[in-house]
């Protein structure tokens, strides 16, 4: 796994959320194209497993999002509003003003690839299957935030989903829209006949509810391992065949917008690392490659290939150096500020992610584009922490650190060696961490980079508080609630149980950042965790105010130092197809399959 996998895996964390407004989707139209093979890769998983089932619930399953695996609607890449969608299985929707329910109307005339109509019953069964997997809108815990409490089939093409009033959340709408829809006539048998009664029981209290919850989650494995004999898809394509080198999908003639689906076939090529994608691109084989980190020289080589173009867009992810404040001297805000003044983020970005990132303007907890949108002029008033060794020295002295023989030591004179942890497979993080260590070394702070063999182990050790400092993804948007959960959520001690917030001691229950429970902003003590949770349900105006306070808190208190903000750098080839999303398009974080099904892609 290389840089691509790093970001792809982490982008998928850019979880569900929401805030305002409904949507008035329009059905795409366009001239009819026809013919040709559209070649790409699936950026959501590393490589193709020919033996995996045709199952969208299986992480390795040969169901490809946007092609032969469908959501109710496709989330737009909006800077501030996570509740904007392109139509998917649903043609249109009405969201109650308080987001207490959503009524979905399915695409009229949409059929599964075997000719059977797509109905509200299919959606209901799919929701039942989603409950077995857990998930934002379908948690079995009745106290969980933003879960569905009632699913009502109004007619063949209309379904209403009501949010539990116990702990409503703005995450609900997006959670519903991102439901995977599968055919009831293929998958329905996985749910027991009394499933919906069991679900009702499970959402209650007591031993019976506990037993029902266990029974439903017990179905998870059965659902993940289910292997339909053939692909029955309501998407623009169905899986024709898959081998270790590629998956071949053919056009689904029953798809409601089939007339505007340009390619007859889609080929998804296997890859094991970024280098393979680079080579595909240089050979001009790919019509599109989703976010792929590339070194500057490789980028030049790729764009030399006729037809290849680079499209860049907003990516709500940032990279930061995070501190474990239960370890000295990182508990001292002056030390953290000194480090921020010593690190030249432009240089770090140049070394680590020249094509896939831009140096963070400052630390606000948000991607600079989202921050500018939410905060307006207030964003420019935040301390930018430009490289300034003199200020760093002042801060270190304020922290009581001592300089002996050109090297900084702890206040008691003992040596200070900063260890910066990164997962070994992420070469951009590794290069960035090395650049930070070198810069700190120049300033007399002994720093070394320590790698961990793989990412899951890295996260495990990080959560266990084994590291002093480490690279950490922040600004995972677009929902402000999710963004600030990275700084003032579980990793920093705030936990939400049954709608109640508690703060656990550093080093316990995943609190590895170990920051204080309250911080001072503009002379006033605030509890950032409490504010961050309010983002889950606050109206937009209040959200803006809270974000302003949290951005200041992050900027002054520096639980992390933001290094670079990611840029969604994609490649398209216009030799065979046209109509690709332009730079900064709100469709850039969706797969080519979604672009194709919306009728955007045309045969040249």
């Amino acid at each position: 796994m290389k840089r691509l996998a790093a970001v792809a895996a982490l982008l998928s964390l850019a979880a569900v959320t929401a805030c305002s407004s409904g949507n008035t989707p329009g059905k795409s139209s366009g001239g009819s194209g026809g013919g040709g093979v559209y070649t790409t890769i699936d950026g959501l998983r590393p490589g193709i497993d020919a033996n995996a089932p045709i199952n969208p619930f299986n992480p390795k399953g040969n169901a490809f999002r946007g092609y032969n695996s469908m959501w109710l609607a496709w989330t737009k890449n909006h800077l501030t509003d996570p509740n904007q969608f392109y139509p998917g299985i649903a043609e249109s929707w009405e969201i109650a003003p308080d987001q207490s329910s959503i009524t979905l109307r399915l695409q009229p005339g949409n059929k599964w690839s075997d000719g059977k109509p797509v109905t509200a019953e299919d959606v209901k069964v799919s929701i039942g299957l989603a409950y077995t997997q857990g998930g934002t809108a379908y948690a079995l815990d009745p106290a969980a935030a933003g879960t569905a409490s009632d699913i009502e089939v109004i007619d063949d093409k209309t379904i209403k989903i009501t949010q539990s009033a116990e702990n409503p959340s703005v995450t609900f709408v997006r959670g519903v829209m991102e439901t995977i829809i599968v055919p009831a006539h293929v998958w329905g048998s996985l749910l027991p006949a009394d499933f919906w009664d069991k679900l009702k029981t499970a959402r209650g209290d007591g031993a019976q509810a506990e037993a029902a919850r266990a029974e439903i989650t017990g179905l998870a494995e059965k659902v993940i391992s289910f292997a339909p004999a053939k692909d029955v898809s309501a998407g623009p394509f169905t899986l024709e065949r898959v081998n270790p080198g590629e998956a071949l999908l053919v056009k689904n003639r029953h798809f409601h917008n089939a007339a505007n689906v340009a390619p007859d076939q889609v080929k998804l090529l296997h890859y094991a690392g970024n280098e393979q994608i680079w080579n595909y691109l240089i050979a001009g084989r790919l019509d599109n490659a989703p976010f792929t980190a590339v070194p500057a020289e490789v980028m030049k080589r790729i764009v030399r290939t006729p037809g290849n173009e680079v499209v860049k867009g907003y990516s709500p992810v940032g990279n930061a150096l995070a501190f474990n404040q239960s370890r000295k001297p990182y508990d001292n805000v002056h030390v953290r500020r000194a480090l921020a003044y010593l690190i030249d983020r432009e240089q770090v970005t140049k070394v680590a992610s020249p094509e896939g990132g831009i140096a963070s303007v400052t630390t606000s907890g948000m991607h600079q584009k989202a921050a500018a949108e939410w905060l307006g002029d207030a964003f420019t008033t935040l301390e930018p922490y430009k490289a300034d060794p003199a200020k760093a020295e002042e801060e270190l002295k304020a922290a009581g650190m001592r300089k002996e023989g050109g090297k900084w030591a702890m206040p008691d004179g003992s040596p200070w060696k900063m260890t910066i942890h990164v997962p070994a497979p992420f070469s951009d993080w590794l290069a960035g961490a090395k650049s930070v260590a070198s810069q700190l070394g120049d300033a007399g702070i002994e720093a070394e980079v320590v790698t961990t063999a793989d990412y899951p182990l890295y996260l495990e050790e990080l959560a266990a508080g084994k590291y002093d400092t480490g690279f950490w993804l922040v600004a995972l948007g677009p929902a402000p609630y999710n963004i600030y959960q990275r700084l003032y959520g579980t990793p920093n001690g705030w936990q939400l149980f049954g709608g109640k917030l508690k703060h656990v001691a550093p080093g316990k229950e995943g609190n590895w950042m170990g920051g204080p429970e309250t911080v001072e902003v503009d002379g006033e003590k605030i509890n950032p965790g409490e504010l961050a949770v309010k983002l889950n349900s606050a109206p937009e105006a209040e959200q803006k105010e809270i974000i302003g306070t949290l951005a200041k808190a992050a900027n002054q208190d520096l639980p992390v130092i933001q290094m670079w903000d990611y840029v969604n750098t994609q490649f398209v080839n216009t030799s065979r197809f046209t109509g690709f999303p332009q730079a900064e398009s709100d469709a850039l974080r969706l797969t080519s399959g979604v672009w194709i099904q919306l009728g955007m892609i045309k045969k040249k």
Binding site: K2, P295, E297, V298, K350, S427
Partner: protein, 300 residues
């Protein structure tokens, strides 16, 4: 197998003199062998004195990332603008120390176990060979990958120790086979008949006969250790050290795109060339050793 050297009428010092003059003659016979020795001496010098030639913190040029080769930077610069040659030189100490420790442990342990098992035979032989067989069936790479999750191998000696402990099986088996063959020879029988102690029989009668095999195995273990550790660092499972050859290869390929574009190619080629040269030096010296220890080849 040749008979062991019989001390007849000459002092040990004379024998030693004769040996070294023989070595010199063998080396001179083919210039390639001299080249091998020069290469190995060069690497030894690089490992011992190389890091002293550079400052503790290697200088960087922020504006010359992946700079092409020049007089100033014969192998260009890395992702941070550090001279690649300096990285190869300063990184050689870890690589060579690991290789040496691995080779010593492989050979000492393999020879001791093989000799003991072959000479004693019986239950000791069975027990030791079963252990050896078990060790040989354990796949080293997966084991190392698992070990690397719990052990950080921060020092070259630790790395060498692990590689050595994983690598002695083949040597033990081969030494045992040779011991079983030699112990039945007349000169060993004669030594036994003369009542010479076991230590003498093993040390003076058996071991010299196997010396060429053991010495060659030691050199080959050096190359094996270099490949193994560079491979592990390349896979990214061991701690990050910017001047480690394996880390350099990893970063040049996955971070710099050395297999796709030319910018990071010198960054990749430098550690590869170092490994290639070291292997070449060892192969050439092994060729010389073969002749030194094998009189029949010498006569030709």
């Amino acid at each position: 197998m040749t008979a062991p050297i019989v001390v007849a009428g000459g002092s040990r010092a004379t024998l030693r003199r004769n040996f070294w003059s023989g070595v010199w003659r063998v080396l001179r016979r083919k210039p390639s062998r001299m080249l091998g020795v020069v290469i190995l001496i060069g690497f030894a010098f690089m490992g011992v004195a190389g890091p002293l030639l550079y400052p503790e913190r290697l200088p960087r040029d922020d504006d010359a990332l992946y700079a092409p080769p020049s007089w100033e930077h014969p192998f260009g610069t890395d992702f941070e603008g550090t001279d690649v040659l300096a990285l190869v030189v300063t990184g050689s100490r870890y690589v060579l120390t690991t290789a040496l420790v691995t080779a010593v442990i492989t050979v000492v342990l393999g020879t001791a176990i093989g000799l003991f098992a072959g000479f004693r035979r019986g239950r000791w032989d069975s027990a030791l060979m079963r252990i050896t067989d078990m060790k040989l069936t354990v796949p080293a790479l997966p084991l190392l990958l698992v070990l690397s999750t719990v052990w950080k191998f921060e020092s070259a000696v630790e790395m060498g120790l692990v590689l050595g402990l994983l690598g002695w099986g083949g040597v033990a088996r081969a030494v045992r086979a040779q011991t079983l063959s030699l112990r039945e020879r007349g000169f060993v029988e004669a030594a036994r008949g003369l009542g010479l102690p076991t230590a003498h029989i093993v040390g003076r009668e058996l071991l010299p006969g196997m010396a060429p095999f053991i010495a060659m195995n030691m050199l080959i273990a050096v190359t094996g250790a270099v490949y193994a550790q560079v491979g592990l660092f390349f896979l990214g499972v061991l701690p990050f050290e910017a001047d480690n050859w394996g880390v350099m290869l990893n970063l040049s390929v996955f971070g710099g795109g050395a297999l796709t574009s030319t910018a990071a190619l010198p960054y990749m080629m430098a550690p590869l060339l170092a490994i290639l040269l070291l292997t070449l030096g060892i192969v050439l010296v092994v060729d010389a050793m073969d002749e030194i220890f094998n009189p029949r080849l010498r006569e030709e």
